[in-house]
Protein backbone atom coordinates (compact mmCIF):
# COMPACT_ATOMS: atom_id res chain seq x y z
CA UNK A 1 0.00 0.00 0.00
CA UNK A 2 3.02 2.26 0.36
CA UNK A 3 3.34 2.57 -3.42
CA UNK A 4 -0.21 3.82 -3.70
CA UNK A 5 0.13 6.38 -0.92
CA UNK A 6 3.13 8.10 -2.58
CA UNK A 7 4.32 9.87 0.48
CA UNK A 8 1.85 12.59 1.27
CA UNK A 9 1.00 13.20 -2.35
CA UNK A 10 -1.13 10.15 -3.10
CA UNK A 11 -4.44 11.99 -2.97
CA UNK A 12 -3.23 14.67 -5.38
CA UNK A 13 -1.72 12.26 -7.90
CA UNK A 14 -4.63 9.85 -7.88
CA UNK A 15 -7.22 12.56 -8.19
CA UNK A 16 -5.43 13.90 -11.27
CA UNK A 17 -5.42 10.52 -12.99
CA UNK A 18 -9.04 9.94 -12.01
CA UNK A 19 -10.04 13.34 -13.34
CA UNK A 20 -8.30 12.59 -16.62
CA UNK A 21 -10.27 9.39 -16.91
CA UNK A 22 -13.51 11.18 -16.08
CA UNK A 23 -12.98 13.87 -18.69
CA UNK A 24 -11.96 11.48 -21.46
CA UNK A 25 -14.99 9.31 -20.72
CA UNK A 26 -17.25 12.35 -20.50
CA UNK A 27 -16.06 13.68 -23.87
CA UNK A 28 -16.53 10.32 -25.56
CA UNK A 29 -19.95 9.85 -23.97
CA UNK A 30 -21.09 13.31 -25.13
CA UNK A 31 -19.82 12.62 -28.64
CA UNK A 32 -21.66 9.31 -28.79
CA UNK A 33 -24.83 10.86 -27.42
CA UNK A 34 -24.78 13.65 -29.98
CA UNK A 35 -24.18 11.21 -32.80
CA UNK A 36 -27.12 9.11 -31.70
CA UNK A 37 -29.34 12.15 -31.39
CA UNK A 38 -28.42 13.51 -34.83
CA UNK A 39 -28.89 10.09 -36.38
CA UNK A 40 -32.27 9.56 -34.75
CA UNK A 41 -33.52 13.02 -35.70
CA UNK A 42 -32.71 12.40 -39.35
CA UNK A 43 -34.26 8.96 -39.20
CA UNK A 44 -37.50 10.23 -37.69
CA UNK A 45 -37.73 13.01 -40.24
CA UNK A 46 -37.07 10.68 -43.18
CA UNK A 47 -39.55 8.09 -41.95
CA UNK A 48 -42.19 10.76 -41.56
CA UNK A 49 -41.50 11.95 -45.09
CA UNK A 50 -41.76 8.43 -46.43
CA UNK A 51 -45.08 7.79 -44.69
CA UNK A 52 -46.53 10.91 -46.22
CA UNK A 53 -45.57 9.72 -49.68
CA UNK B 1 -21.03 52.98 -73.07
CA UNK B 2 -23.23 49.97 -72.53
CA UNK B 3 -23.01 47.64 -69.57
CA UNK B 4 -24.04 44.12 -68.96
CA UNK B 5 -25.14 42.36 -65.80
CA UNK B 6 -25.60 38.62 -65.92
CA UNK B 7 -25.95 35.69 -63.61
CA UNK B 8 -24.97 32.15 -64.36
CA UNK B 9 -26.47 29.08 -62.66
CA UNK B 10 -27.13 30.82 -59.37
CA UNK B 11 -28.00 28.53 -56.49
CA UNK B 12 -28.70 29.61 -52.95
CA UNK B 13 -29.46 27.48 -49.94
CA UNK B 14 -30.44 29.21 -46.74
CA UNK B 15 -30.61 27.05 -43.66
CA UNK B 16 -33.02 24.27 -44.50
CA UNK B 17 -34.41 25.47 -47.79
CA UNK B 18 -33.06 25.70 -51.29
CA UNK B 19 -34.34 29.12 -52.36
CA UNK B 20 -33.42 28.89 -56.00
CA UNK B 21 -31.37 26.64 -58.19
CA UNK B 22 -29.55 27.03 -61.50
CA UNK B 23 -31.02 30.42 -62.11
CA UNK B 24 -29.58 32.44 -65.00
CA UNK B 25 -30.33 35.88 -66.40
CA UNK B 26 -28.80 38.63 -68.48
CA UNK B 27 -29.51 42.34 -68.45
CA UNK B 28 -28.13 45.02 -70.75
CA UNK B 29 -28.15 48.80 -70.63
CA UNK B 30 -31.66 50.16 -71.00
CA UNK B 31 -33.24 47.00 -69.61
CA UNK B 32 -35.30 46.19 -66.57
CA UNK B 33 -35.05 42.91 -64.66
CA UNK B 34 -38.01 42.01 -62.49
CA UNK B 35 -37.74 39.29 -59.87
CA UNK B 36 -41.21 37.97 -59.14
CA UNK B 37 -42.64 35.62 -56.61
CA UNK B 38 -44.77 35.39 -53.53
CA UNK B 39 -43.79 37.08 -50.31
CA UNK B 40 -41.01 35.27 -48.49
CA UNK B 41 -40.02 33.09 -51.44
CA UNK B 42 -36.47 34.35 -51.71
CA UNK B 43 -36.77 37.43 -53.92
CA UNK B 44 -34.97 39.53 -51.37
CA UNK B 45 -32.26 36.91 -50.98
CA UNK B 46 -31.80 36.77 -54.73
CA UNK B 47 -31.52 40.53 -55.17
CA UNK B 48 -29.12 40.72 -52.23
CA UNK B 49 -27.06 37.92 -53.72
CA UNK B 50 -26.86 39.68 -57.09
CA UNK B 51 -25.80 42.89 -55.36
CA UNK B 52 -23.02 40.94 -53.65
CA UNK B 53 -24.35 40.98 -50.10
CA UNK B 54 -25.04 37.25 -49.87
CA UNK B 55 -22.62 34.57 -50.90
CA UNK B 56 -24.08 32.08 -53.31
CA UNK B 57 -23.88 28.34 -52.92
CA UNK B 58 -23.02 28.07 -56.58
CA UNK B 59 -22.91 30.23 -59.68
CA UNK B 60 -21.39 33.58 -60.56
CA UNK B 61 -22.69 37.08 -61.12
CA UNK B 62 -20.90 38.97 -63.89
CA UNK B 63 -20.63 42.71 -64.39
CA UNK B 64 -19.39 43.57 -67.88
CA UNK B 65 -18.48 39.90 -68.30
CA UNK B 66 -16.15 39.91 -65.31
CA UNK B 67 -17.09 38.09 -62.08
CA UNK B 68 -18.14 40.67 -59.52
CA UNK B 69 -16.10 38.98 -56.81
CA UNK B 70 -12.97 40.03 -58.67
CA UNK B 71 -14.02 43.67 -58.95
CA UNK B 72 -16.25 44.41 -56.03
CA UNK B 73 -15.28 48.09 -55.84
CA UNK B 74 -15.98 48.70 -59.55
CA UNK B 75 -19.29 46.88 -59.37
CA UNK B 76 -20.44 48.67 -56.26
CA UNK B 77 -19.34 51.95 -57.80
CA UNK B 78 -21.86 51.28 -60.56
CA UNK B 79 -24.92 50.57 -58.41
CA UNK B 80 -27.20 52.08 -55.84
CA UNK B 81 -29.31 50.06 -53.45
CA UNK B 82 -32.84 50.88 -52.34
CA UNK B 83 -34.63 48.56 -49.96
CA UNK B 84 -37.41 48.50 -47.43
CA UNK B 85 -35.02 49.67 -44.76
CA UNK B 86 -33.92 52.92 -46.30
CA UNK B 87 -30.51 53.23 -44.70
CA UNK B 88 -31.19 56.83 -43.76
CA UNK B 89 -30.58 58.12 -40.26
CA UNK B 90 -33.67 59.29 -38.41
CA UNK B 91 -31.67 61.71 -36.29
CA UNK B 92 -30.16 63.57 -39.23
CA UNK B 93 -31.79 65.99 -41.61
CA UNK B 94 -32.40 65.24 -45.26
CA UNK B 95 -29.41 67.33 -46.32
CA UNK B 96 -27.10 65.72 -43.77
CA UNK B 97 -28.19 62.24 -44.84
CA UNK B 98 -27.68 62.86 -48.52
CA UNK B 99 -24.44 64.71 -47.82
CA UNK B 100 -23.01 61.50 -46.41
CA UNK B 101 -23.88 59.54 -49.54
CA UNK B 102 -22.56 62.40 -51.60
CA UNK B 103 -19.12 61.96 -50.03
CA UNK B 104 -18.93 58.27 -50.93
CA UNK B 105 -20.26 58.12 -54.47
CA UNK B 106 -19.92 59.63 -57.90
CA UNK B 107 -22.35 62.54 -58.30
CA UNK B 108 -24.82 62.87 -61.11
CA UNK B 109 -25.17 66.11 -63.06
CA UNK B 110 -28.66 66.67 -61.77
CA UNK B 111 -29.33 69.73 -59.69
CA UNK B 112 -30.27 68.60 -56.15
CA UNK B 113 -32.87 71.35 -55.76
CA UNK B 114 -34.68 70.21 -58.88
CA UNK B 115 -34.67 66.63 -57.67
CA UNK B 116 -36.14 67.62 -54.29
CA UNK B 117 -38.75 69.70 -56.08
CA UNK B 118 -39.75 66.88 -58.33
CA UNK B 119 -40.03 64.37 -55.48
CA UNK B 120 -42.03 66.86 -53.44
CA UNK B 121 -39.57 66.99 -50.54
CA UNK B 122 -38.06 70.42 -51.11
CA UNK B 123 -39.88 71.90 -48.11
CA UNK B 124 -38.61 69.15 -45.80
CA UNK B 125 -34.92 69.79 -46.27
CA UNK B 126 -34.23 71.14 -42.81
CA UNK B 127 -36.28 68.59 -40.87
CA UNK B 128 -34.84 65.52 -39.20
CA UNK B 129 -35.98 62.38 -40.93
CA UNK B 130 -37.68 60.88 -37.90
CA UNK B 131 -40.34 63.56 -38.16
CA UNK B 132 -41.25 62.62 -41.74
CA UNK B 133 -43.83 60.05 -42.78
CA UNK B 134 -42.75 56.66 -44.12
CA UNK B 135 -43.72 57.72 -47.63
CA UNK B 136 -41.70 60.90 -47.39
CA UNK B 137 -38.71 58.93 -46.16
CA UNK B 138 -38.99 56.69 -49.21
CA UNK B 139 -38.88 59.78 -51.38
CA UNK B 140 -35.67 60.88 -49.69
CA UNK B 141 -34.24 57.47 -50.49
CA UNK B 142 -35.31 57.97 -54.09
CA UNK B 143 -33.52 61.32 -54.12
CA UNK B 144 -30.37 59.52 -53.05
CA UNK B 145 -30.75 57.26 -56.07
CA UNK B 146 -31.24 60.10 -58.50
CA UNK B 147 -28.28 62.08 -57.19
CA UNK B 148 -25.83 59.23 -57.66
CA UNK B 149 -24.30 58.86 -61.08
CA UNK B 150 -24.61 55.11 -61.56
CA UNK B 151 -25.98 52.95 -64.37
CA UNK B 152 -27.45 50.23 -62.18
CA UNK B 153 -30.37 50.55 -59.79
CA UNK B 154 -31.27 47.84 -57.30
CA UNK B 155 -34.77 48.19 -55.88
CA UNK B 156 -36.10 45.73 -53.33
CA UNK B 157 -39.89 46.19 -53.07
CA UNK B 158 -39.80 49.84 -54.16
CA UNK B 159 -43.57 50.35 -53.86
CA UNK B 160 -44.03 49.69 -50.17
CA UNK B 161 -45.12 52.67 -48.09
CA UNK B 162 -45.98 54.68 -51.19
CA UNK B 163 -49.37 56.04 -52.26
CA UNK B 164 -50.69 55.79 -55.83
CA UNK B 165 -48.97 58.97 -56.81
CA UNK B 166 -45.70 57.78 -55.34
CA UNK B 167 -45.94 54.48 -57.16
CA UNK B 168 -46.54 56.29 -60.40
CA UNK B 169 -43.51 58.43 -59.71
CA UNK B 170 -41.25 55.41 -59.14
CA UNK B 171 -42.40 53.85 -62.40
CA UNK B 172 -41.75 57.09 -64.26
CA UNK B 173 -38.29 57.41 -62.76
CA UNK B 174 -37.37 53.86 -63.70
CA UNK B 175 -38.68 54.40 -67.22
CA UNK B 176 -36.59 57.53 -67.58
CA UNK B 177 -33.54 55.84 -66.15
CA UNK B 178 -33.82 52.94 -68.59
CA UNK B 179 -34.54 55.25 -71.50
CA UNK B 180 -31.30 57.12 -70.85
CA UNK B 181 -29.24 53.95 -70.94
CA UNK B 182 -29.51 52.94 -67.28
CA UNK B 183 -30.60 49.57 -66.01
CA UNK B 184 -32.67 48.40 -63.09
CA UNK B 185 -33.08 45.22 -61.06
CA UNK B 186 -36.31 45.14 -59.12
CA UNK B 187 -37.87 42.66 -56.72
CA UNK B 188 -41.63 43.15 -56.59
CA UNK B 189 -44.62 41.09 -55.56
CA UNK B 190 -47.12 43.32 -57.38
CA UNK B 191 -47.62 43.85 -61.08
CA UNK B 192 -45.40 46.49 -62.48
CA UNK B 193 -46.26 48.57 -65.54
CA UNK B 194 -43.08 50.09 -66.79
CA UNK B 195 -42.40 50.85 -70.39
CA UNK B 196 -38.92 49.41 -70.80
CA UNK B 197 -37.44 46.22 -72.25
CA UNK B 198 -38.27 43.85 -69.43
CA UNK B 199 -36.91 40.47 -68.42
CA UNK B 200 -38.79 38.56 -65.77
CA UNK B 201 -37.43 35.93 -63.43
CA UNK B 202 -39.95 33.99 -61.45
CA UNK B 203 -39.02 32.23 -58.23
CA UNK B 204 -41.18 29.33 -57.15
Amino acid sequence: MDGLAMGDYGAYVWSCYALTLVIVVFLSWRARLRHKRVYRDIEVRLKALEDRE
Amino acid sequence: MTHKLSGDNLTLIRGERCLFQDLSFALESGGLLILEGRNGCGKTSLIRAIAGMLSLEEGTVYWDNEPVDNQRQVFHGALVWLAHRTGLKGDLTLVENLGFEHALRAHSKRDPEEVYERLGIARLKKLILRSLSAGQQRRVALARMLLADVPLWFMDEPFTNLDREGRQLVMELVEEHCATGGMCVMAAHQDVEIDAPTTKVRIQ
Partner: protein, 232 residues
Protein backbone atom coordinates in the same frame (compact mmCIF):
# COMPACT_ATOMS: atom_id res chain seq x y z
CA UNK C 1 -13.61 54.06 -72.50
CA UNK C 2 -14.67 57.65 -72.16
CA UNK C 3 -16.15 57.58 -68.71
CA UNK C 4 -14.62 60.78 -67.47
CA UNK C 5 -17.50 62.24 -65.46
CA UNK C 6 -17.94 59.28 -63.15
CA UNK C 7 -15.50 59.96 -60.39
CA UNK C 8 -15.73 58.19 -57.09
CA UNK C 9 -14.31 60.23 -54.20
CA UNK C 10 -11.05 58.97 -52.71
CA UNK C 11 -10.79 56.70 -49.71
CA UNK C 12 -9.85 59.53 -47.38
CA UNK C 13 -13.18 61.17 -48.20
CA UNK C 14 -14.93 57.92 -47.26
CA UNK C 15 -13.07 57.72 -43.97
CA UNK C 16 -13.82 61.31 -43.05
CA UNK C 17 -17.47 61.11 -44.13
CA UNK C 18 -18.25 58.03 -42.01
CA UNK C 19 -16.44 59.43 -39.00
CA UNK C 20 -18.21 62.76 -39.43
CA UNK C 21 -21.63 61.19 -39.70
CA UNK C 22 -21.17 59.10 -36.57
CA UNK C 23 -19.88 62.12 -34.66
CA UNK C 24 -22.89 64.10 -35.79
CA UNK C 25 -25.18 61.29 -34.63
CA UNK C 26 -23.44 61.19 -31.27
CA UNK C 27 -23.85 64.96 -30.99
CA UNK C 28 -27.58 64.63 -31.55
CA UNK C 29 -27.88 61.81 -29.02
CA UNK C 30 -25.55 62.77 -26.20
CA UNK C 31 -26.96 60.05 -23.95
CA UNK C 32 -25.06 57.38 -25.85
CA UNK C 33 -21.82 59.17 -25.08
CA UNK C 34 -22.60 60.10 -21.49
CA UNK C 35 -23.94 56.76 -20.24
CA UNK C 36 -20.60 54.91 -20.43
CA UNK C 37 -18.94 57.86 -18.72
CA UNK C 38 -21.39 57.74 -15.83
CA UNK C 39 -20.87 54.00 -15.69
CA UNK C 40 -17.12 54.56 -15.48
CA UNK C 41 -17.50 57.02 -12.61
CA UNK C 42 -19.97 54.72 -10.87
CA UNK C 43 -17.69 51.68 -10.92
CA UNK C 44 -14.86 53.81 -9.55
CA UNK C 45 -17.17 54.92 -6.74
CA UNK C 46 -18.31 51.41 -5.91
CA UNK C 47 -14.82 50.14 -5.23
CA UNK C 48 -13.91 52.22 -2.17
CA UNK C 49 -17.38 51.57 -0.78
CA UNK C 50 -16.72 47.84 -1.03
CA UNK C 51 -13.17 47.63 0.31
CA UNK C 52 -13.05 50.62 2.63
CA UNK C 53 -11.64 54.12 2.29
CA UNK C 54 -8.15 53.59 3.68
CA UNK C 55 -5.76 55.88 1.81
CA UNK C 56 -3.06 53.27 1.47
CA UNK C 57 -5.33 50.74 -0.14
CA UNK C 58 -6.83 53.24 -2.56
CA UNK C 59 -3.44 54.47 -3.64
CA UNK C 60 -2.33 50.92 -4.24
CA UNK C 61 -5.35 49.73 -6.18
CA UNK C 62 -6.22 52.97 -7.99
CA UNK C 63 -4.58 52.18 -11.36
CA UNK C 64 -6.14 48.75 -11.50
CA UNK C 65 -9.63 49.92 -10.59
CA UNK C 66 -9.55 52.78 -13.08
CA UNK C 67 -8.39 50.47 -15.85
CA UNK C 68 -10.98 47.78 -15.17
CA UNK C 69 -13.68 50.45 -15.06
CA UNK C 70 -12.45 51.92 -18.35
CA UNK C 71 -12.45 48.47 -19.97
CA UNK C 72 -16.02 47.79 -18.86
CA UNK C 73 -17.22 51.23 -19.92
CA UNK C 74 -15.75 50.77 -23.39
CA UNK C 75 -17.39 47.38 -23.63
CA UNK C 76 -20.72 48.94 -22.74
CA UNK C 77 -20.41 51.51 -25.49
CA UNK C 78 -19.32 48.94 -28.09
CA UNK C 79 -22.72 47.33 -28.11
CA UNK C 80 -24.31 50.05 -30.16
CA UNK C 81 -21.48 50.37 -32.68
CA UNK C 82 -23.23 48.56 -35.52
CA UNK C 83 -26.69 47.81 -34.11
CA UNK C 84 -28.46 50.96 -35.31
CA UNK C 85 -26.80 50.70 -38.72
CA UNK C 86 -27.97 47.11 -38.94
CA UNK C 87 -31.52 48.01 -37.98
CA UNK C 88 -32.07 50.98 -40.25
CA UNK C 89 -30.36 49.50 -43.32
CA UNK C 90 -27.30 51.76 -43.28
CA UNK C 91 -25.14 48.69 -42.97
CA UNK C 92 -26.43 47.46 -46.33
CA UNK C 93 -25.51 50.81 -47.81
CA UNK C 94 -21.99 50.56 -46.41
CA UNK C 95 -21.61 47.04 -47.79
CA UNK C 96 -22.52 48.08 -51.34
CA UNK C 97 -20.58 51.32 -51.18
CA UNK C 98 -17.81 51.87 -53.73
CA UNK C 99 -15.43 52.65 -50.90
CA UNK C 100 -13.37 49.82 -49.41
CA UNK C 101 -15.28 48.50 -46.40
CA UNK C 102 -12.26 48.39 -44.04
CA UNK C 103 -11.82 52.14 -44.55
CA UNK C 104 -15.45 52.88 -43.72
CA UNK C 105 -15.17 50.61 -40.69
CA UNK C 106 -12.06 52.47 -39.63
CA UNK C 107 -14.00 55.72 -39.91
CA UNK C 108 -16.74 54.36 -37.67
CA UNK C 109 -14.25 53.02 -35.15
CA UNK C 110 -12.43 56.32 -35.10
CA UNK C 111 -15.68 58.09 -34.30
CA UNK C 112 -16.36 55.51 -31.60
CA UNK C 113 -13.00 56.18 -30.02
CA UNK C 114 -13.52 59.94 -30.16
CA UNK C 115 -16.88 59.59 -28.42
CA UNK C 116 -16.04 56.86 -25.90
CA UNK C 117 -12.29 56.44 -25.39
CA UNK C 118 -11.25 60.07 -25.48
CA UNK C 119 -13.90 61.30 -23.00
CA UNK C 120 -12.76 58.55 -20.62
CA UNK C 121 -9.21 59.83 -20.90
CA UNK C 122 -10.34 63.31 -19.92
CA UNK C 123 -12.63 62.23 -17.09
CA UNK C 124 -10.11 59.84 -15.55
CA UNK C 125 -7.91 62.49 -13.83
CA UNK C 126 -10.80 63.61 -11.63
CA UNK C 127 -11.35 60.08 -10.41
CA UNK C 128 -7.62 59.39 -10.19
CA UNK C 129 -7.20 62.32 -7.81
CA UNK C 130 -9.89 60.95 -5.52
CA UNK C 131 -7.79 57.79 -5.43
CA UNK C 132 -4.86 59.97 -4.27
CA UNK C 133 -2.85 59.42 -7.40
CA UNK C 134 0.05 61.88 -7.70
CA UNK C 135 -0.16 64.29 -10.64
CA UNK C 136 2.92 62.90 -12.38
CA UNK C 137 1.29 59.47 -12.45
CA UNK C 138 -2.02 60.90 -13.69
CA UNK C 139 -0.24 61.93 -16.89
CA UNK C 140 1.06 58.40 -17.43
CA UNK C 141 -2.39 57.01 -16.77
CA UNK C 142 -3.98 59.31 -19.33
CA UNK C 143 -1.40 58.25 -21.90
CA UNK C 144 -2.00 54.53 -21.27
CA UNK C 145 -5.76 55.03 -21.39
CA UNK C 146 -5.52 56.97 -24.65
CA UNK C 147 -3.38 54.28 -26.31
CA UNK C 148 -5.30 51.42 -24.74
CA UNK C 149 -8.77 52.62 -25.66
CA UNK C 150 -7.73 52.92 -29.34
CA UNK C 151 -6.91 49.21 -29.30
CA UNK C 152 -10.05 48.43 -27.32
CA UNK C 153 -12.26 50.24 -29.83
CA UNK C 154 -10.63 48.45 -32.75
CA UNK C 155 -10.64 45.03 -31.13
CA UNK C 156 -14.14 45.56 -29.86
CA UNK C 157 -15.37 46.47 -33.32
CA UNK C 158 -14.52 42.92 -34.42
CA UNK C 159 -16.67 41.50 -31.64
CA UNK C 160 -19.46 43.98 -32.31
CA UNK C 161 -19.41 43.02 -35.98
CA UNK C 162 -19.55 39.31 -35.17
CA UNK C 163 -22.52 39.68 -32.83
CA UNK C 164 -24.55 42.27 -34.74
CA UNK C 165 -28.05 41.01 -35.36
CA UNK C 166 -27.89 38.19 -32.82
CA UNK C 167 -30.54 37.93 -30.12
CA UNK C 168 -28.24 37.61 -27.17
CA UNK C 169 -25.58 39.84 -28.67
CA UNK C 170 -24.84 41.86 -25.56
CA UNK C 171 -23.79 39.05 -23.27
CA UNK C 172 -21.99 37.30 -26.09
CA UNK C 173 -20.00 40.41 -26.97
CA UNK C 174 -18.50 40.54 -23.47
CA UNK C 175 -17.67 36.86 -23.59
CA UNK C 176 -15.85 37.29 -26.90
CA UNK C 177 -14.05 40.53 -26.19
CA UNK C 178 -12.92 40.29 -22.56
CA UNK C 179 -10.33 37.54 -23.06
CA UNK C 180 -8.99 39.36 -26.10
CA UNK C 181 -8.84 42.65 -24.23
CA UNK C 182 -6.96 41.25 -21.25
CA UNK C 183 -3.44 42.01 -22.53
CA UNK C 184 -4.35 45.67 -23.06
CA UNK C 185 -5.50 45.98 -19.49
CA UNK C 186 -2.47 44.12 -18.15
CA UNK C 187 -0.12 46.45 -20.00
CA UNK C 188 -2.01 49.63 -19.16
CA UNK C 189 -2.75 49.07 -15.49
CA UNK C 190 0.72 47.76 -14.71
CA UNK C 191 2.48 50.61 -16.50
CA UNK C 192 0.55 53.01 -14.25
CA UNK C 193 1.37 50.98 -11.15
CA UNK C 194 5.05 51.03 -12.07
CA UNK C 195 4.93 54.78 -12.56
CA UNK C 196 3.28 55.12 -9.15
CA UNK C 197 6.12 53.22 -7.48
CA UNK C 198 8.75 55.23 -9.39
CA UNK C 199 9.80 52.29 -11.54
CA UNK C 200 10.57 52.16 -15.23
CA UNK C 201 7.23 52.01 -16.95
CA UNK C 202 8.20 52.68 -20.57
CA UNK C 203 7.99 49.00 -21.58
CA UNK C 204 4.27 49.03 -20.98
CA UNK C 205 3.80 52.25 -22.95
CA UNK C 206 5.79 50.97 -25.92
CA UNK C 207 3.91 47.69 -25.90
CA UNK C 208 0.57 49.53 -25.80
CA UNK C 209 1.68 51.71 -28.69
CA UNK C 210 2.73 48.68 -30.69
CA UNK C 211 -0.57 47.01 -29.92
CA UNK C 212 -2.47 50.09 -31.06
CA UNK C 213 -0.55 50.27 -34.35
CA UNK C 214 -0.97 46.56 -35.00
CA UNK C 215 -4.70 46.69 -34.35
CA UNK C 216 -5.04 49.85 -36.46
CA UNK C 217 -3.62 48.00 -39.42
CA UNK C 218 -5.29 44.61 -38.93
CA UNK C 219 -8.57 44.98 -37.06
CA UNK C 220 -10.50 46.89 -39.77
CA UNK C 221 -10.02 43.97 -42.17
CA UNK C 222 -11.31 41.46 -39.63
CA UNK C 223 -14.24 43.73 -38.78
CA UNK C 224 -15.11 44.19 -42.45
CA UNK C 225 -15.04 40.44 -43.03
CA UNK C 226 -17.15 39.86 -39.93
CA UNK C 227 -19.70 42.48 -41.02
CA UNK C 228 -20.11 40.87 -44.43
CA UNK C 229 -20.69 37.51 -42.74
CA UNK C 230 -23.10 38.84 -40.11
CA UNK C 231 -25.20 40.77 -42.58
CA UNK C 232 -25.75 37.83 -44.92
Amino acid sequence: MSEAPREIPGILAGLVATAKRDLLLAWKRPGDVLNPLFFFAMVCTLFPLAVGPSAEQLEFSGPGVLWVAALLATLLSLNSLFITDFEDGSLDQLLVSPQPLPILVLGKTLAHWLTSGLPLVFVSPILAITYRMPLSVVGVMMLTLALGTISLSLLGSIGAALTVGLHRGTALLSLLILPLAMPIMILGANAVSLAASNDIYSTGIWALGAYAIASLSLAPYATAAALRISNE
